[in-house]
Symmetry: C2
Subunit: 198 residues, 2 copies
Amino acid sequence: MYAKCSVIYEGRASSTLPTGNYLIIYKPDFSLLIHGASQVSPRNYQGPGSELAINGTTIISNNKSEAITIQLDKIHWVQHPNEWSDNNIVLRRSEKELVAKIVSNPSEYLGFTPSKIIVEHRVEIGAVDIYVEHEGHHIIEVKRGKATISHCVQLLKYMPYFPMPSFAYIASPGISQKAVKYSKDKGIKWIKVEHEAT
Amino acid sequence: MYAKCSVIYEGRASSTLPTGNYLIIYKPDFSLLIHGASQVSPRNYQGPGSELAINGTTIISNNKSEAITIQLDKIHWVQHPNEWSDNNIVLRRSEKELVAKIVSNPSEYLGFTPSKIIVEHRVEIGAVDIYVEHEGHHIIEVKRGKATISHCVQLLKYMPYFPMPSFAYIASPGISQKAVKYSKDKGIKWIKVEHEAT
DNA sequence: ATATGTATCTCGCTC
DNA sequence: GAGCGAGGTACATAT
């Protein structure tokens, strides 16, 4: 629906959207989107499973502890997409692919042949991307893009959960200059791993 | 436009979307969205400023180093929203508001009256939400929602950049049970700060 | 352009 | 449902 309207949101946060012409999308999974003339992200939204009620010129969407109220001024047009498809994209060059690449050929990236490898190794406070045993404990954090200081920090938080000797690695196609310096200070080794060409 | 089509994306990553009926939105800021029958996030998208070219039944969107190719099978309908509004929402209960609340009345949350307060205090590796001086250095990380272990870690990374004595705080409306345990271990103090009612 | 952090993040997964 | 992390995150902002 394309309509002149205003929107009020009340839930985790709260917001108002001034009256204007917006695109309102109500999907078969009962999610609700209100889009403005710019940006990829919607101005307002409601996750799947919301209950929608229409009361005269007011549309109310309720979802657990969140509510959106649309006050309609004028409906410009309405469309009902038939047989809307629900396929997902097939994505390549994800972090998962990089993990598989390293695990399938660890000696190329580590310089030794480990006695044990565990993917998504869980410890108390979260999961390590790749855990490797070889004369000690090797913790590898994999990133699909450029590694940053935050990623180094995320890696370091796991180190106290492994006995010495333990070694920390960031594996990614790139790394920021600041992260290079930071990781050097903290004794983190960077492993360059590249995405497969298409 | 609502159309039966397939989509190929090539850029930072790469993806294919199987043929189906999708909602295609092309905005005045030249951003492009392809929406499926579920989810708030689009199946494929292109940020603002993309160049769009139509070549028979093929739509190509180019944006710096990214490209989307839409192969049209059948156009079900097309609409041209007139005078699409570009207003932004006015948001309340943001992190910024919580920061302002603490800064305007620090003694209530800290238990003392500081000699100096700096918001968004920059150090080498990033910015601290609130920096307070009072018989030492107090570093406060503010979260608008529930604080987690990751937030505690994010806070701890700043501590080496301040001389002793220094103190770490998380300020948020809530905190996860695991984060309670983790922060206790690390000597982080939790400050409960609540959002203003609407 | 690089870097850093927030988000009503969303979404998927595990416990 | 809670908790945690990935994301083509998007988006704003500071250097």
